[in-house]
Structure formats: C-alpha cells, structure tokens
C-alpha cells in the first residue's frame, strides 16, 4: 500500500459524504413495508454493511498474510494485523447492531439480546477465532516469529470463518430465522426496491471506505513505531 494512497484526502472526503448521505437518507427514504420487519428493515444499511466490511477487510488481511509468508517484508505483516484488528471491530459492531435489531423483531417480549440461530453462533465463533489471533500476536515477543506464526494462524482463522459465516448457516440440517437464508446473503429476500438500493450501495461504499481509513491510520502509526525500532 503506497504511502501516497494512505495519506490521500479524496477518498476520505468521499467517505464522509457517503456516510452522511447514508445516515440521513437511511432514515428518511421510504422503505417497503414488510410483515414483522416494518421500519426495522433500515437496519440493512448498518448491520449488513458491517458484515460486508468485515469480510472485505479480513480478505485483505488474508492476502497480506499470504504475501508475508511468501516474502517476509515487515510492511505486509503490519497491514495484515491492522486489517485484522479493524475487521474484528467491525465484526463486533455487526454483532451489536444485529443484537439491537433482534431485540425488536425476534424476541417476543422485546427483552432478548441473543437467539439460538446458526448464523449468530457462527458469526460469534468467527469473531472468537480472530480474538485468538490478537491474543496470539500479543503473546509472542520476537517480531519475525510473531509475524510468521500470526500469518499461519490468520489463514486458518479465515478459512474457518468462511466455513462458519457462509457455509454453516446454509447447510440443509440447520434452519435459520435470519431473513435471507437459502439464497444470496439477503438481497433478494428483502425484496429491495429501488429506493433501498439507492441508499444501500452508497452505504456499503461509505462503510468500506471508513474501515480502510481507520486501518490506514493504524498502519501509518504502526509503521512509525516499528520502523523506528529497527
């Protein structure tokens, strides 16, 4: 990742604009009235986006982990670890937004925060494996060793996450309450009309840019910290 892209301003301004648009339009644009969901379908712009961002960021982390294993440059390790950290944060946010949403749609009395749903359990376990990645990084002192072992574990954790979040909820033996199971990750099932699409696609772009922005700041900080110690 070139320093010039990391420090450039244009995509950060675009990110701010897109997110302001998402928040304003997300609450003002009319949405189709679905049974049970009603207005809570607006959660689509936040909850689903968080998971998209998490997948995207973890994929970048995986790519840089593999790059590090093939060619041990410190920069690759920094990018991989900061992307994994950012992805974990967005995953937790996705879980929290999901819990808030389920409180009003699935829970009968409006008091439940969790449900025994395979997608939820799968997502939690996937996040746990990335928490273990963070703990692994903390517990090794030597930099080269830390980078290599963390890269190996990152591949494991990514594949397991894929199994959990994508494959496991779609197995025929588990049924899920989640809107949008048994097909695409939720698009068609929602019957998105054009109004929602108008807000959803910019929302995804905005959140992705935000995550990359947060990661880029962390990467620049880590680079300063680590290159100065060499």
């Amino acid at each position: 990742m070139k320093q010039s892209i990391l420090t450039a301003k244009w995509w950060k301004i675009a990110c701010i604009v897109l997110l302001i648009y998402t928040v304003i339009a997300g609450f003002l644009v009319p949405v189709p009235a679905k049974p049970i969901l009603h207005e809570t379908i607006r959660n689509l712009y936040f909850h689903v986006c968080m998971w998209f961002v998490m997948m995207f960021v973890f994929s970048i982390s995986l790519i840089y982990s593999i790059k590090y294993l093939m060619n041990p440059k410190l920069e690759f390790d920094i990018i991989a670890s900061e992307m994994a950290n950012t992805g974990t944060v967005f995953g937790v946010l996705g879980l929290v937004t999901g819990m808030l949403w389920l409180r009003y749609t699935w829970g009968e009395t409006g008091k439940d925060w969790w449900a025994p749903d395979p997608k939820l359990n799968g997502a939690l376990i996937a996040l746990l494996s990335y928490f273990a990645y963070i703990v692994l990084r903390i517990s090794i002192d030597d930099e080269q060793k830390k980078a290599r072992i963390a890269a190996v574990y990152n591949v494991f954790a990514y594949v397991m996450m894929m199994v959990f979040v994508m494959v496991y909820p779609r197995l025929s033996s588990v049924d899920s309450l989640h809107p949008g199971n048994g097909g695409n990750p939720g698009f068609n099932q929602y019957d998105l009309d054009n109004h929602m699409r108008m807000v959803f696609y910019p929302a995804v772009m905005g959140w992705v840019l935000l995550s990359v922005w947060v990661a880029s700041v962390n990467i620049r900080l880590e680079k300063i910290k680590r290159y100065n110690s060499i």
Binding site: A132, S139, K145, R148, Y153, F164, Y168, S173
Partner: protein, 215 residues
C-alpha cells in the same frame, strides 16, 4: 511412504516407552469421566449424554495432544535434517489421529460404564467418532505446533483451538444426538460435512506447517 511409516513407528515407540504419558492420559480420562458422573448420578437424557461426551472428548484430546510434543526439542533438529516438513506433519497427523482414536474409544467405554449406554445406532455413532476425532486431533496438533513455536504452551493452544474446534463439535454433536435417538433424518449430509471439514483441516495443516517449521 517408507519415511512416513518410519516416523510413525518412532512416535509409537516413544509413546509406548514413556509409560508416564499414556498412564497420565488414562488417569485423566477416568477422573474426568468420574467427576462428570458425580455431577448428575442418574439416567441421562440422550442430548445431555451427547453434550457431556463431546465436552469430555475435547478436554481429553487437548490433554493428550499437549503431552505428545513435550521434552523433545533436540529430536526436532535431527528430524529436520532428515525429512521434509510436509512428510513430517503428515506422519504426525496420522499418528496423532490414530492415538486420539484409541483415546476416544477408551473414553467412550469408560463413559458408558458410568453413564449408561443409550446409543441406539452404533454404526453412525462410531463413524461420527472416527471422523470427528480425526479433525479434532489434526487441529490440536497444528495448534500445539503454533503455540510451541510461539512459546506459549498449553494456554495458548487452548485459546487458539477452541474457536476452531467449534464447527467440528457442532456437527458431531448433532450427529451423535441423532444416533442416540435414532432419528436418522439427513445424517449423510452431516457426515459429508464432517468429512469435508477433516479434509480441509488436514490440507491446511499440510500447506502451512513448513512455514512454522523454519525455525
């Protein structure tokens, strides 16, 4: 192929010679099963039986996996000069898989001694045990290798392996509670899922171990 067998034979001899290791595992199995039994002390429902059984398998496997690498640093360097890391990890996975299988059969026998034997469909149950234990042992071997190289020991291995073990455990649990109650609906799909998880884990171990080995 001969190299694989040679490594496996060496591991076997090492295990048989160090009586302390497998006696400790045997003692661990008996004590954990007995403590679990003391907690309920009456007829278990099939689902509870199944859940307890798999939790026991997990902890016993962790204990067995962590015992197998200990105290052999000098040997590792020697083996490094002789054999490629891929062959070594394949032999290690195979050996640990067989070892865990034996350990889990012993666990099953001891558990049925204490908690009764509600297994209706023994074939499906044993097949589940076979597939799941392979996956568990491969994962634990890899986690232990990672934690040893990272200097973390048992706790790090536990932290790393717990989340990764959960898919295996979920599918195995589902299958085994089915086999206890004899509702055989869609079990082939779950078996296929277990098998493919095993293959996936073994493939990842095979590909990633050489990077760990380089130290």
């Amino acid at each position: 192929m001969k190299q694989l067998l040679a490594i496996m034979q060496r591991e076997l001899r090492h295990e048989l010679r160090s009586r302390r290791a497998w006696l400790a595992i045997l003692l661990y199995i008996c004590s954990t099963v007995y403590i679990t039994y003391l907690a309920f002390q009456h007829e278990l429902e099939p689902v509870t039986w199944s859940a307890l059984f798999w939790i026991l398998i997990i902890f016993i496997s962790m204990f067995a996996a962590s015992g197998s690498f200990s105290g052999r640093e000098g040997e590792m360097l020697y083996i490094y000069t002789l054999v490629s890391p891929n062959k070594f990890i394949m032999a290690r996975l195979l050996f640990n898989g067989l070892f865990m299988l034996v350990v889990s059969m012993v666990t099953f026998i001891v558990f049925t001694l204490f908690a009764g034997d509600p297994v209706v469909n023994i074939v499906v149950f044993l097949a589940t045990l076979l597939l799941a234990v392979w996956g568990i042992s491969s994962l634990l071997t890899m986690s232990f290798a990672i934690s040893i190289k990272g200097g973390g020991g048992f706790t790090l291995m536990a932290i790393i392996s717990f989340p990764l073990l959960v898919p295996l455990l979920l599918v195995a649990q589902h299958l085994s509670s089915q086999s206890l109650q004899n509702e055989m609906s869609g079990y082939l799909g779950n078996m296929a899922a277990l098998f493919s998880l095993d293959v996936l884990i073994a493939a990842m171990c095979y590909l990633l171990f050489p990077y760990l080995w380089r130290d």
